[in-house]
């Protein structure tokens, strides 16, 4: 995705069609992230709305040199969702959610996500098994450092070190001129 095809700079510039495009392109991504973090909580829909409002407010901060649009949006979403978890401080309640879809994610977004995924996956593949496991538990499964320590038998300090080392490696890869092409 080129810079001109990115939707966030258009939002920042006040293009009224851009918000519609943003929802169409990234709605599925944000929805999946919210479900990942909050489970089947009644809070999920509010969380998705909260993330999008935050995105629109921070649209001008997106820097295509530093990351892809999908990664930036995932960062904003994770930030808001982690904050929600902190405020809630509990596991989500179970409740049925509507499942009528708008349609499949738009093609370019899917490809962009695939590219970003491949980039980070390559770095993960360079880490040791135990480091990969800890990173997955922390980043994707949302376990606290203490929970990871309990699950793996590693000291909390080791867990923190694994996470930090993995994040440093990925950060270096992302900052090595791997932004939007």
């Amino acid at each position: 995705m080129t810079v001109t095809e990115c939707v966030l700079p258009r939002i920042a510039a006040g293009d009224p069609a851009a918000v519609t495009d943003c929802i169409a392109r990234y709605g599925g991504l944000v929805w999946a992230l919210a479900r990942r973090f909050l489970g089947n909580s009644p809070d999920v829909e509010d969380a998705v709305q909260d993330v999008f409002i935050e995105l629109w407010k921070n649209a001008a901060r997106f820097d295509p040199v530093r990351s892809s649009e999908a990664t930036y949006i995932t960062m904003i979403a994770r930030r808001r969702l982690i904050d929600r978890k902190r405020k809630a401080g509990r596991a989500p309640a179970q409740q049925a959610l509507p499942d009528e879809p708008v349609g499949p994610p738009q093609g370019r977004v899917r490809i962009e996500v695939e590219e970003e995924a491949a980039k980070a996956a390559a770095v993960l593949g360079e880490l040791r098994d135990d480091e990969q496991r800890v990173i997955r538990m922390a980043v994707y499964e949302g376990l606290t450092h203490e929970e990871i320590a309990a699950a793996t038998g590693f000291p909390v300090g080791t867990v923190k070190t694994h996470i930090r080392r993995g994040l440093i490696r990925v950060r270096e890869r992302l900052s090595a001129g791997e932004g939007v092409k």
């Binding site: 999946a32 982690i82 370019r108 970003e116 995924a117 980043v139």
Partner: protein, 253 residues
């Protein structure tokens, strides 16, 4: 605290923040350290965590129609605020403290007027479907096929996989549809170089029992000697303890 120790602590807190909530005391400490180190990369670890999340997550789920409509209504009420690029990146972080400037209020009014006349979303040229991508991979010399079938349950599956390209597609027929909020199917790749089977990604099955998904392996596979499908908790697991629903063996000959 020495400068080196201070920077180390800053990095430690940023790495923690990227993966779990900070305590109020840690947040205050982080803000103070960022003020003391104005050149620090405040968002780098969060961007890294986001990229990792994308690497481990499956394909985005479709957004429910009702929620999409709700978002459009919210957009009509709240115009996006173009934050200045020169502002510190953490100003708007985790709070609703963003100050709405006068022009933004005017922008809200403009948005309310424009919303009713918004054009339809731009439809990009469709990218190749998974079925088309699989056909391309099938013609690749490096690709191998693995099949599995359970005569009792009627479940059958085929994986097309290329170790050289680290790319593959799984097609399943006959699996019972799942509720993604309660359980998801997960694909595993048997690789003798790894202690445990490699995660190939989670997937959901449609009402007709079929699905075609891209294999998503966060870890590089050196040799795929087989594939296994299990049923796990939503999002999948690191190491499966469940029984295999189906084992797929490389096609002979």
């Amino acid at each position: 605290m020495t400068p080196d120790r201070s920077r180390d602590r800053l990095e430690e807190l940023l790495a923690t923040e990227a993966t779990q909530p900070l305590t109020p005391a840690e947040e205050s400490e982080l803000d103070a350290l960022l003020a003391a180190h104005p050149g620090a990369d405040a968002d780098g670890f969060e961007l890294a965590a986001a990229a990792i999340h994308l690497a481990l997550a499956g394909s985005p789920e479709p957004l429910p129609t009702a929620l999409a409509e709700k978002l459009h209504r919210a957009a009509a009420k709240a115009a996006p605020l173009a934050a200045t690029q020169t502002a510190p990146p953490r100003v708007a972080r985790r709070t609703d403290r963003v100050a709405w400037s006068g022009w933004a209020v005017a922008a809200v009014l403009a948005w309310l007027l424009l919303y009713t006349n918004w054009p339809k979303p731009v439809q990009p040229v469709p990218d190749p479907t998974f079925a088309q991508q699989r056909e391309v991979l099938l013609r690749d010399r490096s690709a191998k096929t693995a099949r599995g079938e359970d005569a009792k349950t009627g479940i059958s599956a085929t994986v097309v996989w290329s170790t050289a390209k680290q790319e593959g597609f799984l097609e399943v027929r006959g699996l019972p549809p799942n509720d993604p909020t309660k359980e998801q199917y997960q694909l595993w790749i048997a690789d003798p170089s790894q202690k445990h089977p490699v995660d190939g990604g989670v997937f959901d099955v449609q009402a007709d029992g079929s699905v075609l998904v891209r294999v998503r392996n966060p870890i590089r596979v050196k040799e795929a000697t087989g594939f296994v499908i299990t049923k796990e908790v939503p999002g999948g697991v690191v190491v499966s303890a469940g029984p295999p629903l189906l084992v797929l063996n490389p096609k002979q000959g």
